[in-house]
Symmetry: D2
Subunit: 294 residues, 4 copies
Amino acid sequence: MSSTILHGIIGYTITPFGSDGTLDLPALGRSIERLLAGGVHAIAPLGSTGEGAYLSDPEWDAVVEFSLKTIAGRVPTIVSVSDLTTARTVRRARFAERLGATAVMVLPVSYWKLNEAEILAHYRAVGEAIGIPVMLYNNPGTSGTDLPVELILRIVNEVENVTMVKESTGDIQRMHRLRLLSDGQVAFYNGCNPLALEALVAGAKGWCTAAPNLIPEHNRALYEAVQEGRMEDARESFYRQLAVLDYITRRGLPTTIKAGLRMTGLEVGVPRLPLQELDGDGQRYLQGLLTALQ
Amino acid sequence: MSSTILHGIIGYTITPFGSDGTLDLPALGRSIERLLAGGVHAIAPLGSTGEGAYLSDPEWDAVVEFSLKTIAGRVPTIVSVSDLTTARTVRRARFAERLGATAVMVLPVSYWKLNEAEILAHYRAVGEAIGIPVMLYNNPGTSGTDLPVELILRIVNEVENVTMVKESTGDIQRMHRLRLLSDGQVAFYNGCNPLALEALVAGAKGWCTAAPNLIPEHNRALYEAVQEGRMEDARESFYRQLAVLDYITRRGLPTTIKAGLRMTGLEVGVPRLPLQELDGDGQRYLQGLLTALQ
Amino acid sequence: MSSTILHGIIGYTITPFGSDGTLDLPALGRSIERLLAGGVHAIAPLGSTGEGAYLSDPEWDAVVEFSLKTIAGRVPTIVSVSDLTTARTVRRARFAERLGATAVMVLPVSYWKLNEAEILAHYRAVGEAIGIPVMLYNNPGTSGTDLPVELILRIVNEVENVTMVKESTGDIQRMHRLRLLSDGQVAFYNGCNPLALEALVAGAKGWCTAAPNLIPEHNRALYEAVQEGRMEDARESFYRQLAVLDYITRRGLPTTIKAGLRMTGLEVGVPRLPLQELDGDGQRYLQGLLTALQ
Amino acid sequence: MSSTILHGIIGYTITPFGSDGTLDLPALGRSIERLLAGGVHAIAPLGSTGEGAYLSDPEWDAVVEFSLKTIAGRVPTIVSVSDLTTARTVRRARFAERLGATAVMVLPVSYWKLNEAEILAHYRAVGEAIGIPVMLYNNPGTSGTDLPVELILRIVNEVENVTMVKESTGDIQRMHRLRLLSDGQVAFYNGCNPLALEALVAGAKGWCTAAPNLIPEHNRALYEAVQEGRMEDARESFYRQLAVLDYITRRGLPTTIKAGLRMTGLEVGVPRLPLQELDGDGQRYLQGLLTALQ
């Protein structure tokens, strides 16, 4: 299974809407081509950035189908299939597998706090329903549930195809503990943009990020500098792009990435309410950051 | 509009499922009759306790319709209409109004953190779509978004029919500030069971709670003792029921209320996965607490 | 020992300094007479408000000696003897006992975080060194160490003369748990001014507060209303004084109480650096609050 | 002044006590020689590890005098002079300067929370009282006060000889912001052992640590690997020593370093109460970690 382990820059797609609020698949196609042209090593359709939580089931299915068909195996794909019930998550996972996804990503979203038995059973149900690898995704900032490292490792040990861990708490100590407690056997990925330098140095296999929609060459440069042990280059590259990474993460990825794409000539509409489009001040600030990076 | 302001014990319904996982409306009817027999002052269908987040739209609609028809105006009703998008929340609010709900409750659930403008616009959209009162519900523990008192008051001031505030942070200082900053003009409600005594003493108009499914006489006794200024009785009543209030809140309301109802002879099934039914130890503990209260 | 249990309004003294920064004991005498005239039920020399942490040992001894001589048994006294080492805390406790203090108060201040064994041993050492009661004081906001309820109860059970608990976390659930887990046998006291109403309603035996330096009649009125079961009066009294309680707590007690005393004609100097005197805006704000209360 | 900026491994001394609890200066001398033999780039007498907070003034003075005389300029020295009042901090800073310290370190310890004006004035008072550089030390875990990056930079800008910043929050984003907001002009140091790899990669000039008392060759190897851009070596070195770094930080530096020194044949006594010596389980665990590193 190790051959299917993802690595490198894993770029997130946005979900474009037309002016009437419905899906704009042609724009999605153009944004996917941009990510590919930018040199990402893999693509993650419908993650948090893709507003998956705000789509109806038919919309969700359409986006996955279109995305996988567009990518067409040019890079590996990992589809975020998280949903509020186990049954709906399983349905999405099977759908993604059937359409050819390389792997799926599962965040333990819930309304009520889940206990450890419930979280484990949820991952087991998803894992057993499909034959492709699962990336466990820990992000208490969006899911409301924080998975301790011990629980993550228990899930990895007990559910065979949970083989990757995406950590988005922003606490580098979590990655240290994942590595120490698993003797370096668990592949972990960084999901916190402003931690990219340190996570890669600490051994993250990849960086899951929406940033390559806007600054792919900088993201790749940082990754490659760390891979090749060019520490000074890595540090410089990181500090150069840090203000962008900080801002898009803090201000919200669908909001800022959609605004940034429009600035660079790719119209993808605005996020779905209650999310609003980036306001004028935000647009000027983001434009300034992007211009400074060119 | 003050005549429509709710007060007293506002009881939450659960949503019964049959052994095949589908809605069991007859059991829902029986649980509603229990709440009414227990003397609640109002009923809140489909709040957090009702697993509203885990239902499909047709299920959600069916539960609201059945609940309102069963209650049939015997007490005021307040329907939780929160959903992830503004459009879906508005649809639910209109649906509840059309079927005769007294008021609706709105929690700013979202996947992405909302900023203040987004939260305000969301409440404005819901408020303007309906003609009945809205209870703003603040519960960062489930929504992930904490509304500061200043923002709550701004929403109350700017959206005409947001006339009630349910506070579930468990921090009594929030209620103090709501009262001080509004000169006592904003009706606030307690949504944190183990804070019931203090919230009522501090001036809460009512107590939104799932506890009356199991111990309605104790909940009402506490409320009445505070209303009548019998402080010693209030304190005694509170400490007598506190262990139950603590446990159901901490262990999860759908899980514990469904288990408790079964213990008292009303079969309502188990929560929907990933939520699991209360395990054996939990059942024994809850049974002990309930027995001690008889 | 129950006869020595304190109750009611326990007023904190400030420590006046002259313009040269040295102790001004005559002013201390005047401030103590004010507290007594205000009707406090007990006095706590040299608590946090008294800047005990900023005094040299000779200064500390002089303040205790002068305070106890001035009070002269007119009300019970409880001296805060906390210090960074166990040995110094024991010395202070013995000194206070020898000079006639009714009880001592001990906060587990430390530089390094203490584990449970260290905290227990610290209380045991102090308890065994003296024959008067000890009030355990939990205030992570100043001590950096938060004592869980279970540890507090263990200390109370294992160290005979630790018979009182002052809770200053501001979390009313701590008091609930102290009462539930001890079957109501542990005397607890409120140390968080803006929680005074609820703590007293929940069963606190007393309210440890610096507020009676400025508004003793309001503090006493609240206490008496709760004692006599006049709930509406209690609520009104509380909300009337809440802005003062909030401000002095938030802005710092030595700073605000010294400024307030000066406003009312009692010159007690300014706090010791790094603490600064209340600035002009703060003085105007506090003056406004105090005037509104007259 | 840049020539006096410290760099590299900055080793902390412990303060040995004899069996009667008094200072054991000969043992202190031996521990200093060990640090020097271990190749530290600078020594920090009487930091947190040195139990400075638990010493009397005469003891504190004696330790500083003895330490500086023993080091005798073989490496630069930085003395922690923090105390609860500004006056006492200034006295210590002047004392350290007079005895030849290269620099002093100041943590804004206080009992009462300080506001920004108070913190700035405190640093200004210390800075103006001496002619040697000051390292501002931010460690809310021990001081109870967290200095935001903006305040740190304001102090650095307004107080001429505050030229170094030691960050111990463990949050790498603080270092990012220090670097970004100061255009890389502020020298920052890592004070959180388990963050050593990432802090150095992110540009920290040095690592303030008590670890070289026990594993100096590993600390130096990590520092040198980062300096020389050997990223794979740095990562391996870090993970090899991480369990030790984690444990001594989490369990308390005076407690664990003193136990570890005894294991390696250097008797330095036990910490001062309320701190206790490492218990049997702790000793076995630490011994195991140290043995594994040899």
